[in-house]
Amino acid sequence: MDISVTLRGQTHDLALKNPVLTASGTFGNGIEFASYGNLSRLGGIVVKGLSLKPKAGNPCPRIVETTAGMLNAIGLQNDGVEIFCREKLPALPWRDVAVIANIYAASTAEFAELAARLDAEQGVAALEVNISCPNIARSGVLFGQDPAQAAAVTRAVRTAAPTKHIMVKLSPNVTDIALIAHAVEDAGADSISCINTVLGMAVDLGARKPALANVLGGLSGPAVKPVALRCVWQVARAVGIPVVGMGGIVCAQDALEFILAGAYAVQVGTGNFIRPDCAFALADELPDACNRFGITDLEELRASLRLD
C-alpha cells in the first residue's frame, strides 16, 4: 500500500514518503534517535526549535510527568541556527528524509533573518514556524494568539524563504483556532501543523511549590489528544491548505484518527519518550493498521468523518 503523501502548498509542495513525522522538541536533531531506528524510514524529522543565537533555556525542573502526559518548560534551549547548519544538519540523511527546521524568534524581523539563513540550506525541506512565542516588540503578546501578528510572521517568513515550504504551527491556547488558521493561510502559509502544547501547571502539595521552575508549562501526550483532534478538525474545515496533526499520537490507530479528522500527515511527540522507537514503529505499522480498518488509501480516509 502506498502511504506516501504530498502536502500541496500555495507556493511549494512537500513530498513525504509516509505521513509520519517527529515533533519538534521531542526528537532532538534526529541523530539522538539513530540507535533506535532507521531515520530514513520516517516521513520527516522536525528538529528542535532553532533561534538566531544560542539560547540557554529555563532553570530546572523543566519537565514533570502528569497523568497520561507531561508538562515541559524547556525554554527553547538550542545551539542557534549556525551550529545547526554547520554541525547537525550534515549528520542527518536529508536526501532520504524530509528535514523540517522549526524556527522561533522574538520579533518579525528576527523570524525573517532566521528564515533567510535556512532558505540557503539545501538539506532543509521546509520550515515550521513556531508562533506560540512572545513578540517582544509588542509587549510580549504571543504571535499565535493574534491573527494580525500570526499573519505578519507568516508573511515575513514566506518572503524571506522563497524556496521553502512554509508550515505554520498553531497553538491551541486561543479562543478560535480557525481564525488564526485563516490568517496564516491568507498570509501565504503552505501548510499548518497543530497543536503546540496546551498551557498547564502542576504543583507539589507537600513542598507547596510549583512542579516546574517556570511555574507554567506546556502539556503534551495522550492527555491532550482530544483537544488536538478537535483543533485539527476545526482547522481542516476552515482552510484549503494541508493540516499536519499532532497531540498524543502514540500508535498507528491514533494517526489514522487524525487523518480521519482531516490531517494529511501527523507528528509524533511525547510518544518518542514512551519508547524511542515509537515513530519508527508507527510508520511501519500504518499499512497493517489500514488493513485492519478497511482503509484502502489515506486520501479516501482523509476528512471522511461521517456526521450523519
Partner: protein, 286 residues
Amino acid sequence: MQAKTACARDKRLTLRLTLRPAGFILRAMHQPFLDSLRVLELTPYGGQRSFFALRLSRPSWTAWTPGQFLMLRPASFGLELPLARPFGICDASARQVMCFFQVLGRGTQRMAALRPGDEVSVWGPLGRGFAVEQNAPTLLLAGGMGIAPFVGYANAHPEPEKLRLLFGHREALDCYPVDALTGRIRFESAHERAPEDRDKFIHSARERMRDCAARNGLALACGPLPFLRAVQSFAHELRMRTQLSLENRMACGTGACLGCVAQSVDKTPVCTCREGPVFQADNILL
C-alpha cells in the same frame, strides 16, 4: 483501547528483537539498545518493602561501564504514566541486568508490583560512566541510593583490593544491596540517625579523600546533591581527581528532551543523560 494497541505493538516488537540477526549486537561498544525485557525477579531489601533489586532477563548488550544508566518503562505503566524512569545499572551480565530502586512516587510504586515474566521496555546503556583505573587507589563515596552503581563497579574492577568504599545511609543497612560488596572490597558504613551523624560522615569522607589523594588516588561519588557538593568542595581543596554522578529528571535519556540539563563551569548547558551522569568534579556546577 489505546493501551491495548500499544501492548499489541510491544509484543510484535519483542518478536522482532528476538529475531534480530546476530551481527546486530556486534556494533560499536556502548551503543544503546532498545529491548523488551522480562522480569526475572523482584527482591525486597530490608523489612519495609520500599527497597528492591529488579532483575531483568538477557539484555541485547554486554558492553557497559559502571555509572551508566538505563531507561526503564514497565508495560504496566500503560499510557497513564508515559515517561520511563532512569536507573543506574547496579550490575549486568549477558544473562541479566540488575537495577536497584526505592519506592518514592507513582512509577516506583507500580514497579514494586512487578512480577516475574512482566514486560519492561529498556533502553541503554546510556551516558558516561565512572573511570576505572586499574592501578590507582580508588575511593568510592556513596550516600543512600548512591550505593547502586558501586556494586557493578566493584564487580567490574580488575583489582578490587584497590577499592575502598564509604557508605552513608539513613535506613538500616539491610535496605541496600551491600551484600555483594562487603566480601569483595574494603567497606565502611555510617548509619545516620541524627543530624550530627551526617556531619561525622562528611568529616569521614574528607579524611578518606585526603588519605587517598596522598596516594595519588581517585575519588568517585554518588548520592544526594548536598553530599555531592561537599565532596566537590573537598576535591577542590585537596586538588583530587574526583568524579560525581548526578541525578536529574529526564524524559528520554538520549539528549533530546533537554529536561536534565546541568551547567558546566563555563556555564554551558550539558545534558545529565548524555554528557553525564558522571562528571569531573572540577567541571560541573552544583
